[in-house]
Amino acid sequence: MSVDNIIDVKGLEKSFTVTRKAGRLRRRREVVNAVAGIDMYVERGAMIGYIGPNGAGKSTTIKMLTGILVPSAGVVRVDGLEPSRQRIELARRIGVVFGQRSQLWWDLPLRDSFDLLRHVFRVDAARHAANLARYSDGLDLGPLLDVPVRQLSLGQRMRGELTAALLHDPSILLLDEPTIGLDVVSKEAVRQFLVEINQQQGTTVLLTTHDLTDVERLCQRLLIIDHGRVIEDGTVADITARYGTERTLIVDLVEPGPPLDVAGATVSNVEGPRQWLRFRRDEVTASDLLRRVSQQAEVRDLTVEEPDIESIVREIYTR
Amino acid sequence: MRLYVEVARKTFARIATYRQATLAGVFTNTVFGFVLAYVLLAVYRERETVGGFDAIDAVTFTFVAQGLLMVVGIFGSADFPERITTGDVVVDLQRPYDQQAWWAAVSYGNAAYYAIFRGIPPFVAGAVVFDLRMPSFPSFAAFVVSAFLAVGACFAWTYLLQLSAFWLMDYRGPNQIGSFVAQFFAGVFIPIVFFPSWLETTARATPFPSMMQLPIEVWLGRHQDAALLGVFAQQVFWIGVLVVAGRYVMSRAVGRVVVQGG
């Protein structure tokens, strides 16, 4: 365990006992290992992506890092504290943003939420005011401060949530799907902001997301979790180079026909005139593939699909 | 018609899955039944009869009432008003069925489930400790009819209350007031025969006894032959009045549908 790491996790496990129905009257008890032994570390000031398919154990891990859940086994240290024993102390040092749930007070003006959080986190008035001014400028919240949260658009609200999470100068910022549902412009604003606070203030950022672009733009390092274990831990460049080689060419043929037989690609799906062709970037280029397809059938329209996290993880896992 | 039967059946199946909640509710009903029964028995230590009810009548009343509470649905429900406040009701209004009939079917689906699973247990618990009046077969049959009508009357009333959601964003205020007034005059807190005579007369002039007091009086065998038909007629009358009122208010409401929410 290094003193420079803000998050240190060794042998983390979490299992749940679930009762399942076995027949009409009987119940069976099953043990589900949501997290089956995770070792991870995060350096102070890093910006890390933490991704994996649904049900992989991401939110369970995050809950154990924040003290919401108590681990079944293993050691967790966050900013030097043990989350399950020192929940309240840790809560003062963490900022959390949920893309799908609001932490703001719905019926009150945005400003009131910020003020309330000042009391909740016991921030002194001067520091709070300074932070508020800074983030408010950076995220352009000025005109929104007196608007009730329920009247804000999703993008505006997210900017409010980010500010709310940072007003008490947390050393770590945890983000769960922060850009979900946002339009492109808002997404950029959020990403830009995160880069700034990470670089200028040294706030450590742990980001959980399904959006590959978030990961590419923001994360220095990527932790991929599946079935309760960390299966990949490395820089984004490394991982994308190693695994993100598969793409899909979707062609709309003029006339529906049998699955195309093309060298370098496999047809993964056919729906009427539309066919999905999977191919590897390092084996054949998209334009080559298109040429081969056109020799067999007339193509009316096409799209190239990049791999998403699901497929990368799928690929990683099946290796 | 078949649609509404199907709705009732689906409702039954749906609440059947909430076993914990049913169990919790039965427990609460039973506890309330016991406390109320003991209080009434204390009254009967001083007197033989009150308003024609003897001690056994009163205690029986208490436990049948606790069982009937959820059957008639006197507390109302949040489902319909929530669809109004979220604006989902617009979808319902475009469908080719009658709104009021739909929700009536839902009420009857609930009633059927609760009659078995929340109606019987508290009564059985009461019967273990207290002397309860069991109805003769004809009285029981009459009770079933009367209870069936009570469900309708109570539904029509709560439907009316819930329509307030079209005008007020928070329907719970009028819902609560309306529900408590109904309970009071229906004999939920205390059989209305315990009221001073002016209050009892007032109560009987309202639709509320049709929802609880009257069916239980039928159970106790207090209305025979012509009087029994009179009770049914009274219940049907109030169902008619409340249903018509509900349809009228609904037509006004639809005229000013305001869609709320995102």
């Binding site: 932490q103 | 509710g25 016991f34 928070d170």
Partner: protein
């Protein structure tokens, strides 16, 4: 205190829905009035209940009602834990540097519940004038002491019985049997309850200490439930024990939630 600020925020948020607020306030006052009407009705039929006269029972109603009303205002919010757990929003409370109980109490605060304190308070004042109270310095002191103890006892009952939702999330209604049922029981002299229920109300759920014993002491009733009436002064100690019990049970419930996630 953070609690104060959070409550203030809640009140300001609710104030935006003024009509709803006043309707609710009206509703709560109405409910309390109906409660009184029930007892008044009983006393139009008899002169005494379980050996207690009308104004003596009013004293019970007042003491119990005020305690219950204030507990309802300050602690009943714990009932919303079930809703939060089902919606997944309970975790948000654990992310703040506050006790989740304090946070729940503050963020779900409802000023409109004040309506439930006003009526019993009025009845209490009337009873203090009209009931045959043995007025001494001690009696005057007992009033605030009993009410304070009563608030804590009801609060403890609320917290302990609502903790069940951390194990069976749909069982919140069980708590109502003890909270609202308990309130009902304190409105009457516990003599009316069956012996087994009296024992529960004294030793398990110390409801007897909320109104019954204090009133018996104030009215100089001899041997209430077979105990010397000075037992009323044990109320503060009982309240402390109840509070410690509540702390323990709630803590246990939260630990369970944090190890199973639900």
């Amino acid at each position: 205190m953070v609690w104060r600020h959070l409550v203030g925020a809640r009140i300001r948020a609710d104030w935006q829905y003024r009509t709803s607020f006043f309707l609710f306030l009206l509703g709560q006052s109405l409910i309390a009035c109906l409660d009184i009407a029930v007892i008044a009705s009983i006393f139009t039929n008899v002169d005494s209940l379980g050996g207690w006269s009308g104004y003596e029972v009013a004293l019970l109603f007042g003491l119990g009602g005020v305690s219950f009303g204030v507990a309802d205002l300050l602690i009943s919010q714990v009932e919303t834990a079930s809703r939060h757990i089902k919606a997944g929003t309970f975790d948000l409370f654990l992310l703040r540097p506050l006790s989740p109980l304090v946070h729940l109490s503050a963020s779900e605060f409802a000023l409109r519940r004040l309506g439930r304190v006003i009526q019993p308070f009025i009845v209490l004042v009337v009873a203090l004038f009209k009931a045959p109270i043995d007025w001494r310095v001690e009696t005057a002191l007992l009033i605030p002491v009993a009410i304070a103890a009563g608030i804590v006892i009801f609060g403890a009952i609320w917290v302990i019985t609502s903790s069940i939702v951390f194990w069976t999330v749909d069982s919140q209604e069980v708590a109502s049997a003890f909270t609202y049922g308990g309130n009902m029981a304190t409105q009457y002299p516990l003599d009316v309850l069956g012996v087994w229920m009296r024992r529960i109300a004294t030793f398990v759920l110390p409801l007897a200490f909320v109104a019954y014993f204090p009133a018996a002491r104030m009215l100089d009733h001899h041997e209430p439930l077979g105990l010397p009436n000075i037992v009323a002064w044990a109320a503060p100690a009982v309240a402390v024990i109840a509070a410690l019990g509540a702390r323990a049970v709630w803590g246990f419930a939260i630990r369970h939630y944090r190890s199973t996630g639900s």
